[in-house]
């Protein structure tokens, strides 16, 4: 179950996220839950495997926006890096950046799964 404490323990900048939600904890948790259900965390990997760079950029960009607003800091770092790399088509190892972001997302899922 999603709680403020678990998010804090995970490393989210909860204070920052709560400010954007006008201090309403329930609303913040509701938004976070909605954000984490986003299937693009999974599909982005497939799109990258198929080298559909533009599509991958749009997905990464959208995820970055949501994650940033929710202040999920551990995911925000690698997803931002991936977004900028895709935007400028730098040719770095996109998969590696994706894996970092995905690993942070999975870690959060694990934290939340633990009662």
């Amino acid at each position: 179950m999603l709680t403020i404490e678990k998010l804090k323990a995970y490393g989210a900048d909860v204070e920052d996220g709560l400010v954007r939600c006008m201090g309403m904890e329930d609303f913040y948790l509701q938004m976070t839950e909605m954000g984490l259900k986003d299937e693009r965390f999974e599909t982005l990997g497939k799109v990258l495997e198929e080298n559909r760079i533009d599509e991958a950029f749009e997905m990464a960009h959208a995820l970055k926006g949501v994650v940033g607003n929710l202040a999920l800091t551990p995911i925000y770092g690698p997803i931002s890096e991936l977004t900028e790399a895709l935007r400028h088509k730098t040719g770095v190892d996109y998969q590696a950046l994706y894996r970092q972001a995905k690993a942070e997302k999975d870690r959060l899922d694990d934290v939340l799964a633990n009662e």
Binding site: R20, M22, M31, H61, G65
Partner: protein
């Protein structure tokens, strides 16, 4: 309570949040929901649909750039292309600095970064953008003339002063442009057409302003003020206005006059410069086409002279500087011309200027309303004199007096004239009334009403200066008149079979149709007299018979006529 809060409380504004991410939309909704009604759209297409339906309701759009279906840039382009929708301010939501330039070029008002700033920051920026947009719209509505888009007169002077501050060394022209007798355009072609004409003039002026520095306004219904850098000639401006006017009306119908005050030395105040340009403009009367006058020292002297005449008027009335003179009118239908009436004319013997010509003070007094007092003086004096002559000679030969435009609006005109007739024991038909033709065309309903009342009481009314105004034939048949008095300008140039003579013959035919006599004034020569006599003109007035003379001298004409009548039995 500060202004922003007071405004906020007046009514709830509506904000449209456009973002494809539900989380982002809802967060913004939470941030803005306490102060605004919030609408949502998940992509550009949905956003445009909502904006088009609720354009009057939406005060601001918060717009994400990267979205499926239609992105934020496309939305900005569509909004910008629509003259109504472009007024709605848009705040772009972006984390990408490079997107800001393009968004600004497409009309974005502001930016919000992602992840979102503190709610207070977002709220303040939304509030500022809405206030700025509303203020701009209010200012635009008050500073621009709603018909032509030029400045209103109040803001015009404000901006002209500002222009002066920034261009202190520049020579500037103050220009007044007027469509002479514009009300006739409205009357003949309708208001909508008239509005198109005014917009065309404004477009012509705007064309010049775009090329050179300056400001312009619609000063009143048909008058424009223009404040532009000085040029050696005005063809540029004239051609620009004529070109636009030519798109909506025929050249013969154009009656544009323009007065210019060239301010090389910046000696006069701004408002004075426009007063002088207006004076130059008013010095041109009743000309077709496009004519202009430049204010010069002669005009300045005339201005000073006019001011002096106005100042001296009350004293002149009190000290008998005004004198009524009489110019005889002769009936020429019979074998020999016979005195049938006279016109009472005013003469001013000024202690300093000597004899002041009526055309120097009558138009002036017509403009400022003093003419009413002067007319009353002439009417009173004429009625008194008619009473005297009646006592002396036992009968009266009628005398006509001039009735000015402003007199027509005097609710007491009928009772005042009746009281003069009664006091002096004369008849209403002894005091003829001359009313200029243009007064009829200015306000035909009012004048027909007043003239009908006067005629019901027995007064006879002559239409003066006929041919100088714009009476339609249709209007003439419905007007209550007893005589047509030909405009002097026609008589001056008549010669056998020339254009002016044919015009006179035409007027005689109209008069025959209306069954009223025609009076020709300004007849000076034997040739003119004979031409008019042969053409069938009824009555002649002018130097050919006599100049205007004082009562004593005129009495000799009366005596002579009385003697003839006695002889005829």
């Amino acid at each position: 309570m500060n202004d922003s809060i007071r405004r906020q409380k007046l009514f709830h504004r509506t904000v449209l949040v456009v973002d494809d991410e539900a989380v982002n939309r809802q967060m913004l909704g939470a941030i803005l929901g306490t102060a605004y009604e919030v609408l949502y759209a998940a992509n550009g297409r949905e956003a445009l649909e909502q904006v088009r339906i609720q354009k009057d309701l939406i005060s601001l759009i918060l717009l994400d750039l990267l979205m499926p279906e239609m992105d934020g840039y496309q939305v900005l382009e569509e909004l910008r292309a629509d003259p109504i929708l472009r007024r709605i301010p848009v705040i772009v939501l972006t984390a990408d600095r490079s997107a800001e330039v393009k968004s600004l070029q497409l009309g974005a008002a502001d930016f919000l970064s992602k992840p979102y700033d503190m709610p207070e920051v977002i709220q303040a920026r939304v509030r500022h953008s809405i206030e700025l947009s509303e203020d701009t719209r209010i200012i635009q509505a008050t500073e621009n003339d709603s018909l032509t888009g030029l400045y209103t007169r109040e803001f015009f002077f404000e901006y002209a002063h500002k222009f002066d501050r920034f261009h202190q060394e520049k020579a500037i022209d103050a220009i007044v442009l007027n469509f002479n007798r514009f009300h006739m355009v409205n009357e003949l072609h309708g208001r909508e057409f008239g509005d198109r004409v005014l917009c065309a003039i404004a477009d012509g002026i705007r064309g010049i302003l775009e090329e050179t520095d300056g400001v312009a306004c619609r000063y009143d219904a048909d008058t424009f003020f223009i404040y532009v850098s000085h040029r050696s000639d005005y063809d540029h401006l004239i051609n620009s206005v004529l070109r636009r006017l030519g798109e909506v009306m025929n050249t013969p119908e154009m009656r544009i006059r323009m007065g210019v005050y060239q301010d090389v030395y910046r000696a006069a105040r701004l408002e004075e410069r426009f007063d002088r340009a207006l004076q130059a403009c008013n010095s041109i009367r009743n000309q077709f086409g496009f004519s202009y006058a430049i204010y010069d020292m002669n005009m300045h002297e005339r201005e000073v002279y006019s001011a002096r005449l106005m100042e001296d008027f009350p004293t002149a009335l009190e000290t008998a500087q005004f004198q009524v003179r009489y110019q005889p009118k002769f009936n020429i239908r019979g074998e020999t011309p016979r005195l049938c009436s006279a016109e009472a004319l005013i003469s001013w013997q000024h202690p300093e200027y000597g004899r002041v010509r009526p055309d120097a003070f009558i138009p002036l007094f017509e403009e400022n309303g003093l003419i009413r007092r002067l007319d009353h003086f002439v009417w009173r004096e004429t009625a008194r004199q008619l009473g005297e002559w009646k006592k002396q000679y036992g009968a009266v030969i009628p005398v006509s007096v001039n009735v000015s435009r402003v007199d027509i609006y005097d609710p007491d005109i009928v009772s005042f004239l009746l009281s003069l007739v009664e006091e002096n024991h004369i008849e209403t038909e002894d005091l003829l009334l001359e009313i200029t033709e243009s007064a009829y065309t200015d306000n035909s309903r009012q004048i027909v009403q007043v003239v009908s009342q006067l005629r019901d009481k027995g007064f006879k009314v002559e239409m003066d200066d006929f041919g100088s105004g714009y009476s339609s034939l249709n209007m003439l048949t419905t007007l209550p008149i007893d005589a047509l008095k030909l405009d002097m300008a026609f008589i001056r140039d008549i010669a056998r079979d020339n254009k002016e003579m044919r015009m006179v013959e035409l007027v005689l035919e109209i008069a025959a149709f209306l069954e009223v006599p025609v009076i020709a004034e300004g007849v000076e020569t034997k040739e003119q007299y004979e031409l008019l006599h042969q053409a069938g003109c009824d009555i002649i007035q002018g130097y050919y018979f006599s100049r205007p003379i004082d009562a004593e001298e005129y009495a000799r004409f009366i005596m002579k006529e009385m003697a003839l009548r006695t002889k005829e039995g």
